[in-house]
Structure formats: C-alpha cells, structure tokens
Amino acid sequence: MAGQAILGDTVLKSAIAMEAAAPTVETLVADHARMVFRIAYSILRNHHDAEDAAQECFLRVWKQKDRLHEVSNPKTWLARIAWTTALDKRRANPKTLSLDEAGAGWELMESLSDGAPAADEQLAERQKQQLLQRLIAGLPDDLGQTLELSTVQELNSAEIAEVMKIPEGSVRTRLFRARKQLKEKLAVLLEGKRHG
C-alpha cells in the first residue's frame, strides 16, 4: 500500500515535471520571437518580410503544438523552422543581389565617406549594409547561408551547426572561407576607391 503511494507520487511528480518542461507556443513566442525575427531578417533583409516570416514560422510551430514535448532543444528547433521559412520565402520571391548585376558596389563604396559626420552615420551604415548584402549574395549558397546565420547574435557556431544539420567544424570552415572571400572582394573595392 505504501509502495503504491510512493509509486503514484513518483509518477505524478514526473508528469508535473514533464508538463513544466514542455514548452507551449506562447512561451516560445515570448522567449524567441526576437531571435526568429532576426534570423528571418538576416536572410530577407526587409522588416516587413522578416515579420511575415516570423508569423509563418510560429504558425508552423502552432500546427505541431501537440509534439512540442518531443522537442529536446526548442531554441535550435525554432531557429531551424525560422531559417527554412525565410529561405522558402526568399526562393518564392528571389531578389538577385550581386555586384556584377547591379554594379552598385562601386557606387556604394564611393559614397561611403571616410570621416562622416554624426548626421550621416546612419546613412553610411545603411550603405555599408547594402554593400555587405550584395557581397554575401555573391557567395556560394552554403557559405552565404552560414555567414548569414552567424550574424544573428543569439546563435553560436554549435547552434548554427544544429540548425543547418552539419558538424560544427564545417560551420567554422565555411565561416572562414566566407570571410576570406568577402575580404578579397572588399580589398578590390577599396583598391578601386583609392585609385578612382
């Protein structure tokens, strides 16, 4: 009789613990909405599209709300959903942003002032971001996507590896190669600015 009571207590406690551990959609929204938005923004480069993608991401999560207790790492699970949602959205509405096509890299580099006053800092920053966006768009997909995820503050390389379903070493290698290619392109642009 006492054994049964102890067993019942244990089962009840573990059930309560499971209930407490299993995240709800609401808690996921509260804890990770910002990260989801940033992942989407890193890919879509537009506030409106990023918010749409975040909404769609949580809608996908909501459809699987009955399986939330099976998720071991809600953060990376959610990050992966956000990443795939944003990629789907970008594929559905592709915007080719390469330096070769637009030819705007030079113009952007030219417009970057060396000693910009405070009032122009925001504009200069925006121009830098546009330049970087074009440079990343010119990278191979695997390198570009890894680099985009690495710019999200909330994700470290181990989490990026989990999101992309690749080994962490591959993430580091890809980031190294991506940075190297970007530096080469930037060097060419800077050289052209100096001589132009």
Binding site: V25, E26, V29, A30, A33, R34, F37, R38, I39, Y41, S42, H47, A50, E51, A54, Q55, F58, L59, W62, E125, K128, Q129, L131, L132, Q133, L147, E148, S150, T151, V152, Q153, R179, L182, K183, L186, A187, L190
Partner: protein
Amino acid sequence: MADQEKDKQMQIDDMLDSMLAHYSSAEPRSGLENRILANLHEAEKGPSQGWWNFKWLWSGTVAAAIIVAAVLINGRHRIEPPTHVIVKTNQPTPQPGIQPHAPIARQETARVHRRKPSTVPIAQKKEALALSQRPTNFPTPVPLSEQERLMFTYLENTPREVVVAQIPRNDDQKEAEEFWADREPAQGTRRSTNTR
C-alpha cells in the same frame, strides 16, 4: 611594404567585423509577440469555422444530389407507361362470374405500368397471352340477371298481341291507328280490334 599590407588587411578585417556585427541587429517593431499571438489565436479559430462551413456545404450538396436522384427515378417511372399502352387494352378473360371491370383486371394493368424497361420480354409475353385469350365477340356476353330472365320467360309464354296491347299509347298514336283503320279496313281489322 609588409607592414602596409598588414595594416590594410587589419583595416579590411575591422571593416568586415563592423559590417557583420550590424548585419542582423535589426529590431522588430514593438509588439511583435502580441501580433504573433493574435495571429495564432485567429488561426486557431479559422480552421474550425472553415471546416464548419465546409461541412454544411458538403451536407447541402449531398441533400441536393439525393433530391435530384429521387426526382429522376420518379420521373422515369412516370414516363415509362406509354411504351406498354398496348398491354393496357387487355380484355378480361371470358370466365363466367368475373365481371369485365373487376378490380383484379385494373390491378393487373397497374402492375404492368410499374414495371421497368428491363422487363420488356415479360411484357411482350403477357401481351401475346392476352391476345390469344381475347374473345371472338365484343362486348363480352354477360349472363342475364334475375329480372331479365323473368321478363324473357314472360315474353316467350305470352302472345304477341297481348304484349303489344299492354304497351301504353298516347293520343296521337290512337288517332293515327283509327285513321288507318278507316282507310284500310282489311288490313286494319285486326289492328283495330286488337287496340280496342
């Protein structure tokens, strides 16, 4: 020269780090979490309402299909009879004791009306059978009633003159007879005597 190159590389590195640091630092519009949750609640209501409407649509379609099918089946039964009109002209069999307009005969014809087109050979057989049993004279002879039989017996046993004398005559007929009796005494002797 090497120092210059090193400085240049360091400059590019710093520039790239700075650009990457701000690449995904975008902040969502305030209230993102609330908007996402509102959207989820709306989505939660949406499917059930849609399903409800869909269910009504389906049940309405099924009901309409049943009504149409019933009307078609009923209509077919009504249209069929003209193909078997000949069967309807069947004469009752000349069996004694069965009246020509007996309910049984009507039931028979009615039953023939209800038959489906697939039973055409049977209907043809019945038609042939009815033709073979058709009586030679029309209308079919009917046995005399009790009153008719008494009248017939009386007429057989009573002389013709007596019977004629009993026929009621009006004034015009009487005058005509007297007239003819005067003009043709030889012929009218018997008549006048009889009438008197």
